[in-house]
């Protein structure tokens, strides 16, 4: 039953083919069996089985909701009441959240069963899941390689069939890049589509939660649960949530696809380029028209992103002070010592680098040169996308410049690690929705196709992904040893 999609599982649960308790137990056993992947920070076994029992009662009473009885795992960035919420940091190793994130409430209301909390890069800062306080996550396609990041535990868990679907968050590519490296389907929604309330903040103007699943059809069910206006999130956008499953089978005849020429420059690995071109050919067969477009300021996305993300990170992470919650150093000499040592002892190297960078960029004399400049460049990048998306319906290209790289390969050079997000970062700056869908393999490692849409066109993106998944089976491949 672990090889079925949640769409199939929901049907089986309703027909009584198996119970939610049986389904949940099957996943809990797989999580134990594949513990070496290190996908989970916390497994909430008792909690899950209790919820599954309640779900079974609802199922037999005939009042099941969208996800009743479906086991889901949550990225450990979403606050879960009375359950440890660590954000993969020593800082929050002792943090039992006193409330639920809106996303968690939404899953509870939809009847989902939570299997546990997933590993990630510390405070979502990383592209390989190697900055986690709880250790690196292995990519099930090749356990010597990284799963990508920051939602690495999320992507590896879905690829290894330890959960049928999960949540992730994406600040610069953290849903799409691990989805690509692990061969699963991931969607970063429009900024403001999914509530950030209770989602531990990294860079508030960029962070966005979204679904990661085996197929676009499943991702649609998750997004249906996650999306919606939330008055508790001041940046949440008041816009009605459409039925994300209703248009999955719409025809792609006449779809206009734009290929940004900057995505296909000499820097792109040849084999990945060939894989992406083959995927685009499939779309041609489905009736799409393809033309070249340009995003001239694309090369400025990484510099602008690392100013804005670091600046916002340094402001957001100032709340971790050793006073109200989280880690506190032993025997502080005075208040400054309490702050300095609590933060110094509990943050990892990458988090520190970004706090330092952000503090510098926001300090007197540098604010205009870095932060304001980056916000201006951000607008230029956003305008490039607006222009391109006025000519075509969607943009397509690679998600990542490489397939899964070796553990430790890029940890020595932060800049090289940042370049792993070269094709995803600009989308966060513009606040657009984008997906990664499995499009093939290079040397037995998955490659993801990125599909970028205009604001609030998630339903169209899911339709575009679903139609591709009707004529290809890349998304159905399972890594060896995890069948």
């Amino acid at each position: 039953m672990h090889n079925k999609t949640i769409t199939e599982q929901a049907k089986d649960l309703r027909s009584g083919k198996y119970s939610s308790v049986e389904l949940t137990q099957a996943y809990l056993q797989r999580i134990k069996k594949h513990k070496a992947l290190n996908c989970f920070i916390t497994v909430t076994e008792e909690h899950a089985l209790e919820d599954a029992k309640i779900a079974d009662t609802q199922l037999s009473a005939g009042n099941a909701k969208l996800l009743t009885g479906i086991p889901i795992a949550q990225k450990d960035i979403f606050c879960t009441q009375d359950i440890k919420t660590s954000c993969a940091s020593k800082m929050l190793d002792n943090f039992i959240a006193p409330y639920n994130a809106t996303v968690i409430e939404n899953f509870n209301n939809a009847g989902a069963v939570m299997l546990g909390k997933l590993n990630m890069d510390e405070f979502a800062m990383g592209s390989s899941n190697e900055t986690s306080f709880y250790g690196a996550v292995q990519n099930p396609w090749d356990t010597n390689t990284v799963p990508g990041g920051s939602s690495g535990g999320s992507a590896a868990a879905v690829a290894a069939r330890l959960a049928p679907a999960v949540t992730g968050t994406d600040t610069g590519g953290s849903i799409r890049q691990p989805a690509s490296l692990c061969g699963i389907t991931g969607l970063k929604p429009t900024y403001g589509r999914v509530s950030r309330y209770g989602m531990i903040a990294f860079a508030s103007s960029l962070d966005q939660g979204g679904p990661m699943a085996r197929s676009a059809e499943d991702a649609a069910l998750l997004l249906q649960t996650m999306a919606g206006f939330d008055s508790k999130d001041s940046t949440s956008v008041e816009q009605a949530v459409p039925d994300y499953s209703a248009g999955l089978n719409n025809s792609l005849e006449g779809l206009k696809i734009g290929l940004p020429k900057e995505f296909f420059s000499a820097d792109l690995n040849n084999d990945i380029a060939t894989t992406i071109e083959a995927a685009i050919n499939e779309y041609r067969k489905l009736g799409a028209e393809v033309k070249e477009v340009s995003l001239p300021n694309m090369k400025l996305a990484i510099p602008a992103y690392y100013v804005i993300a670091s600046a916002e990170c340094s402001a957001n992470l100032s709340r971790f002070d050793g006073v109200r919650f989280g880690y506190r150093c032993d025997n502080p000499a005075d208040l400054n010592d309490l702050y300095i040592r609590s933060r110094g002892e509990a943050f990892g190297a990458e988090v520190k680098r970004r706090i330092l960078m952000g503090t510098y960029a926001l300090s007197a004399g540098y604010y205009d040169a870095y932060y304001i400049k980056a916000q201006k460049v951000r607008r230029l990048i956003s305008e490039d996308f607006n222009k391109a998306l006025s000519e075509v319906d969607v943009l397509m290209g690679p998600v990542s410049p490489s397939t899964a790289f070796a553990q430790g390969e890029k940890t020595g050079d932060p800049i090289e690690m940042y370049l792993a997000d070269i094709y995803t970062i600009a989308i966060n700056l513009a606040g657009l929705p984008a997906m990664s869908i499995p499009a093939g393999f290079v040397d037995n490692k998955p490659v993801g196709l990125q599909v970028i849409g205009n604001y609030f066109t998630e339903a169209r993106l899911l339709n575009i992904a679903h139609q591709y998944q009707q004529v290809t089976n890349w998304h159905q491949q399972t890594p060896q040893g995890f069948e």
Binding site: G192, G326, R328, L335, L356, P414, G431
Partner: protein, 95 residues
């Protein structure tokens, strides 16, 4: 653009962030590399461009000025490192 170890120490103090003495040079090198990356923006003409803070340029939403949250002090303080009589304890600030 390069930052010295002393500048790194100053920034770390501004951020109230402890860093090991032995790591200072490495941070200086990494931050200098990051700054080099960021200076790539310098050549782009942006004098007439408005800074963009929200992807959809949304303004801060207003709500009626009524009580919307109830007091959860005990709930929130149950996870604090050190409290007494409903107060957070910190080292002595005033002699």
């Amino acid at each position: 653009m390069s930052l010295s170890a002393d500048e790194v120490k100053k920034i770390a103090y501004l951020a109230r962030l402890g860093i090991d003495e032995q790591d200072t040079d490495a941070y200086a090198k990494d931050l200098s590399n990051m700054l080099d990356l960021m200076t790539q923006m310098g050549d782009t003409f942006t004098d007439t461009v408005q800074p963009m803070a929200h992807p959809m340029d949304q303004m801060q939403r207003l709500r009626p000025d009524t009580v919307s949250e109830h007091n959860q002090r005990e709930n929130f303080q149950s996870i604090a490192p050190q409290i007494e009589a409903g107060l957070y304890l910190v080292p002595k600030v005033i002699d």
